[in-house]
Structures are given as structure tokens and as C-alpha cells.
């Protein structure tokens, strides 16, 4: 079973900050902070598993504070996108460290990408 995650001020190397929020009845939000690599991909996977268990209509993953994304982390995100099925996952980030790996692998097609959290949480367009 997962520990309830606590917000951490600034994760060190090998640590990933993961925080769950419920901004409103329709949205579940996972906020991730730090570097996603082979050291931390497991933490992300556990957090995503928990997010996918949420029955909210819209699942949002805020990666704005993620400063590195390795293929191990990308693989975890891609698996989550497949598991989410028709509930397309919304990702928040403008950082090159996140956008670039998604673009070059084409995995950006699996998600709805948003520049900021407010846009990702806004009512349906």
C-alpha cells in the first residue's frame, strides 16, 4: 500500500516530490517535482498507479517542476497513458527537459499537453 505522500520543499538527487491534490470534484491532480530517471522512475510509477485509481473524470499530472526526464520515466508515463484508456491524461509543462524527450519519441501524442496548471484544470474547451 502506498504511503500518503507529503509535499517536500525541494527533493535532492534520487528523490522525487509527489503530491496529490483534488482541486475540484472533476479533477484529480498529481504534482511532481525533481528529476525523473532510473533512481526515481519507481516513485513516479507508484504515484501514477495511485492517480489512476482515482475515479475523477479528468486526471492532471503537473510536471512544471520536473527538470529531467529519462527514458525510464517516459516509459512509466507511456504505460500510464495506455492504462488510462479513454481518460486522456493531461500533462502540464513548458520545460524543454520534459517536452523534448516527449516530442522526439512521439509520445507527446499520447497526452494532452498544457502550458500551465490553470489551463489543464479549466472547463472543457
Amino acid at each position: 500500500m502506498l504511503d500518503p505522500t507529503k509535499p517536500r520543499p525541494s527533493p535532492g538527487p534520487g528523490e522525487l516530490g509527489v503530491t496529490f491534490e483534488q482541486p475540484d470534484a472533476r479533477h484529480a491532480l498529481l504534482v511532481v517535482d525533481g528529476e525523473i530517471d532510473t533512481l526515481t522512475a519507481g516513485s513516479l510509477e507508484r504515484a501514477l498507479t495511485e492517480l489512476l485509481e482515482d475515479t475523477s473524470e479528468v486526471l492532471v499530472i503537473d510536471l512544471s517542476a520536473v527538470t529531467f526526464l529519462a527514458s525510464s520515466g517516459l516509459a512509466v508515463l507511456i504505460r500510464a497513458a495506455h492504462q488510462a484508456g479513454e481518460r486522456r491524461l493531461r500533462l502540464v509543462s513548458t520545460a524543454r527537459a520534459v517536452r523534448r524527450p516527449m516530442e522526439i519519441t512521439g509520445s507527446d501524442q499520447l497526452f494532452d499537453l498544457y502550458p500551465d496548471r490553470a489551463a489543464a484544470l479549466s472547463p472543457e474547451e
Partner: protein, 145 residues
């Protein structure tokens, strides 16, 4: 180290990083890669790509490295590209760099050239397993893919 201009033209600057072969030190190695690319005036996408490629290569090698062994990563900084050669002593005799993984496909996309290397242990060496490595090359920007 920051003064590339003092170098004879055509000769690469060489930086070697040697660490324990553990995933915990890969952030340090990828930071070196990123720093070298930035100083060599790589464009921002190319810096990001090299950082990821080096991370990927090192993570692959650390996976097969013998316990308590070292990871060696050599950067050759040329005018328009950086060549990286990383290697470890593998733990088992049949160890090899797996090239049928998602990570390897990503590595191929990130780098302009990438190859897996393997050399059997020589008789009398202080390690039993083969030396396995990865060589990759990344251009400063807008490379023909």
C-alpha cells in the same frame, strides 16, 4: 577547461569522468555532459539531447556492471560535435548491452550516431567479465538525422 580557444584547431578537448558504477552518480555525469555541450555552444535542444543520451548510456551500463566496479566516461569535445565513450567491466561473462529496449531506441533517436561495444576479458585480467561500452556522437545543432 573553459578556454577552448587555447586548444590547437582540430584537436578535441578531452574530459574523462570516472565514478563508481552506480545509478546514484549518473546525475553527476549527465551534468558534466550538459555543461560541456553548453560551453561548446550547442543549441538548447542538442544540450538536452546529449544530457539524456549520456544518462541513458550510463544507466544501461550500470545495469550490467560488476559489483563495486567503475564506470568510465570519456568526452571528446570537437568544434561541432561531442563524442562520448562510456564503458564498464561487466559482472557476468555473457553480459552485453541490450539493444532491443525502449531505452536503446530513445538513445538512437537522441544521438546522431550510437553503437554498442563489447570486448572479452583478456587472460590474467583482474576482472572476469567482458568490457562493455557505448559510443555515441552528438552534433552541436540542427543535425541531419
Amino acid at each position: 577547461m573553459s578556454d577552448w580557444d587555447s586548444h590547437p584547431p582540430g584537436e578535441p578537448s578531452v574530459v574523462e569522468v570516472r565514478t563508481s558504477a552506480t545509478a546514484a552518480l549518473i546525475p553527476t555525469i549527465r551534468a558534466v555532459a550538459s555543461d560541456l555541450a553548453a560551453r561548446a555552444d550547442f543549441d538548447l535542444d542538442a544540450i538536452s539531447d546529449l544530457r539524456m543520451a549520456v544518462d541513458e548510456a550510463c544507466a544501461t551500463l550500470v545495469d550490467v556492471a560488476a559489483p563495486a566496479s567503475m564506470l568510465q566516461c570519456t568526452f571528446r569535445v570537437h568544434a561541432e560535435h561531442i563524442e562520448v565513450h562510456a564503458h564498464v567491466h561487466a559482472g557476468s561473462a555473457d553480459a552485453t548491452v541490450s539493444t532491443d529496449t525502449f531505452g536503446w531506441r530513445v538513445l538512437q533517436t537522441l544521438a546522431d550516431h550510437v553503437e554498442a561495444l563489447r570486448q572479452d576479458s583478456v587472460v590474467g585480467a583482474d576482472h572476469a567479465g567482458p568490457t562493455v561500452g557505448i559510443r555515441l556522437d552528438k552534433h552541436a545543432g540542427m543535425p541531419p538525422r
